[in-house]
């Protein structure tokens, strides 16, 4: 997508979250910002879906729209079988106990005036889970699980902790209600590399320990590759490519994915920085996105067709999907592709030619 389509959605029973044709627009004085324009995603139980792209690609907006913060302009978000848009405010609040969010900046996402034990216990208190003593025990358990000493941490306030420790507290708070799905929005971008590794390993440990499903949003491709089971690459409110991290990184099919991978500086002096195949120019304005494929203005493979017709997501390999007329591999998209009905994912992802 840099086109639309739902070919990459799966029709299995263990899909926890399904997003169909999600669109988020913001109306500003300058015009309508097309932040997310018709993307579809799904996440299976126990899976980590990585959403990756540069700033302005709509990855954070997607994460927030899933939480209905704010509700999307159009499209469906189905979580555990329920369409979130159809729920009442009270029902939505109840659903959010199983659908948690971890923010980028660990320090500003914790209330500086409250003690750690109260921050972590608040979700339990709001939902009146257990007795006071049981709540206390649960708080100690999750604090210990995220690698903080419950005795030492409980009575301190956030400013007494480092950024990495604050992110551990945020993670503890998101886990205390035993959620099904946690959306992590750039959870390690504000942290130093040494601490980043701690938090990434911690998320993997928590996923195993509590049986979590994760949506992991980040701009760092190496981080996303490390933690994800499936990766979706976004560009200017559209999805470019979906696949397993190893496929996407070894054999990127979308010209954007390829350029993105080439741009990454490799921590190895034997690898000369790429001189060719780099992107030129900047991201176009989401106020007035390009017609057809949104990536065409910076794409080395762009042809006339790319301006006229928006590419659709199609399979080019086992579990590997691309939205591009002229991908790096996988063959040219046949002209006049059949229209994809919105909201009804194809049962078999590989029925596209």
């Amino acid at each position: 997508m840099a086109g639309t389509g739902t070919a990459h959605l799966r029709a299995t029973d263990d899909v926890v979250l399904r997003v169909e044709d999600l669109t988020v627009e913001f109306h500003t004085a300058a015009g309508t910002v097309h932040a997310v324009s018709g993307i579809s995603l799904d996440v299976r139980a126990g899976e980590t879906l990585g959403l990756v792209g540069e700033s302005g690609c709509g990855k954070s907006t997607t994460g927030r729209a899933i939480m209905q913060l704010p509700p999307p302009t159009s499209g469906r978000v189905v979580f555990e079988g329920a369409d979130l848009a159809s729920l009442s405010g009270q029902q939505l609040r109840e659903v959010r106990t199983r659908l948690q969010f971890i923010f980028q900046d660990p320090i500003s996402s914790l209330n500086p005036r409250r003690k750690v034990k109260d921050i972590v216990a608040e979700p339990l208190r709001i939902w009146k889970r257990g007795t006071e003593a049981e709540r206390k025990e649960r708080v100690s358990e999750v604090l210990d699980a995220v690698g903080l000493d419950p005795q030492a941490a409980a009575d301190k306030r956030p400013h007494q902790f480092s950024g990495g420790q604050c992110q551990r507290i945020s993670i503890a708070r998101s886990l205390v209600l035993d959620p099904t799905l946690v959306i992590c929005d750039e959870p390690v971008s504000a942290l130093d590399v040494s601490v980043q590794a701690q938090i990434l390993n911690l998320l993997e440990d928590m996923k195993a320990r509590y049986g979590l499903t994760l949506v992991f949003i980040a701009h760092d491709l190496a981080v996303v590759k490390n933690i994800s089971d499936r990766v979706a690459v976004m560009y200017l409110g559209k999805i470019c490519e979906v696949g397993s991290p190893d496929d996407i990184y070894a054999t990127p099919a979308h010209p954007y994915t390829q350029a993105l991978l080439r741009s990454i500086p490799v921590p190895d002096p034997e690898v000369a920085p790429a001189r060719t195949g780099l992107l030129i120019g900047d991201l176009p304005s989401p106020l007035d996105p390009p017609s057809g494929c949104r990536f065409r203005t910076r794409c080395p493979n762009a042809q006339e067709r790319c301006a006229l017709e928006e590419p659709r997501v199609r399979a080019i390999g086992d579990g590997h999907f691309v939205a591009c007329h002229f991908p790096v591999h996988g063959g040219t998209e046949p002209a006049g592709d059949a229209p994809v009905s919105v909201g009804a994912p194809r049962r078999n992802a590989t029925d596209e030619p």
Partner: protein, 381 residues
Amino acid sequence: MARSTNRRVIAAPTSEGPLLVVDDFRTHFATDAGLVRAVDGVSLTLERGKTLGIVGESGSGKTVLSRSVMGLLTARNVVRSGSVRLNGQELVGASPSQLRALWGTDMAMVFQDPMTSLNPVMKIGRQITEGLRYHLELPKDEALAQALQLLESVGIPDPRRRLEQYPHELSGGMRQRVTIAIALACGPHLLFADEPTTALDVTVQAQILDLLQQQQRERYMAMVLVTHDLGVVAGRTDEIAVMYAGQIVEKAPTRTLFTDVRMPYTEALLKSIPKLEEPSHTRLQIIGGRPPDLLRPPSGCRFAPRCPYAQAKCHTEPPPLVEAETPGHEFRCWFPVGTSAGQEALERNLAQHLPAAEAAVTGDSHAAGLVEAVSDTGGDL
């Protein structure tokens, strides 16, 4: 011409010897809580036309070092000592007017955030010509012609129109190109680039790093590239200095640093980065804990509380910077990586189940949290 004549007398450029010599340089901040030793005894030299990478995490002192070397820290609580010589001229203790004559013409800086380092209410053209008119005393039309050339050379499309625009009309990458044009305007011999691409997206980052490298080669300029990202410096520097808690803990020609690492902190830093060529879900090695409080740095090796190799000696005696086999390779460590002493130390720590060692070897996120708790209370392991 009084000003420029004056400048020449002060600068007295000598073509002999290294361009920049920093010797036992310290920058401390006097605060209510005590003396913050942000830069604590740094020595380095930089030859003309070479690129030095300074790598470290937040709080390591890398930014304070580069700003203090340039003399940009002017607050009353800043205590600088040691020596910084540029072209043979001593900068520690230089008067503000002496420094002002050097900024722009002899040394210049590109900052991290192009939005805050540009003046939002001044047109791009005026911001570029300001230095040209002040230092080189060019007449207005010549300065503008030069600015146009500069914008072209840093790859800004439609430069004539840009001269009349304000920073907010440009994208982040274009703004950083403008700050680079400003820094290059008066032809400095030494360019500091302090996290020049951290605020930018990865595709734009590649463009900006290429531009800096190309300009540096064309102008035979020396460059100090300050960053937290080892990927940024790996392919683009001649030499790398790794900073930790205000000190250089390892310094080596770029290749040597990556192939023959000696200091455990450098090793840990390299191993904690997720790498694209590794399969997904590869367990990352971690450094437990966090950097020390610079008000009260540990009395021994500053990395000892987090170090998987640390022994009793490391907690009491600060290791000096010593030479490795490769010329130009120096490190601070009693039990260096890749030696039998280091290997034995690590095995001893693993046998005792010390959290710092276990966290590093197994990537145990729980142990890493424990190391932090221990280093917090200032307790010894």
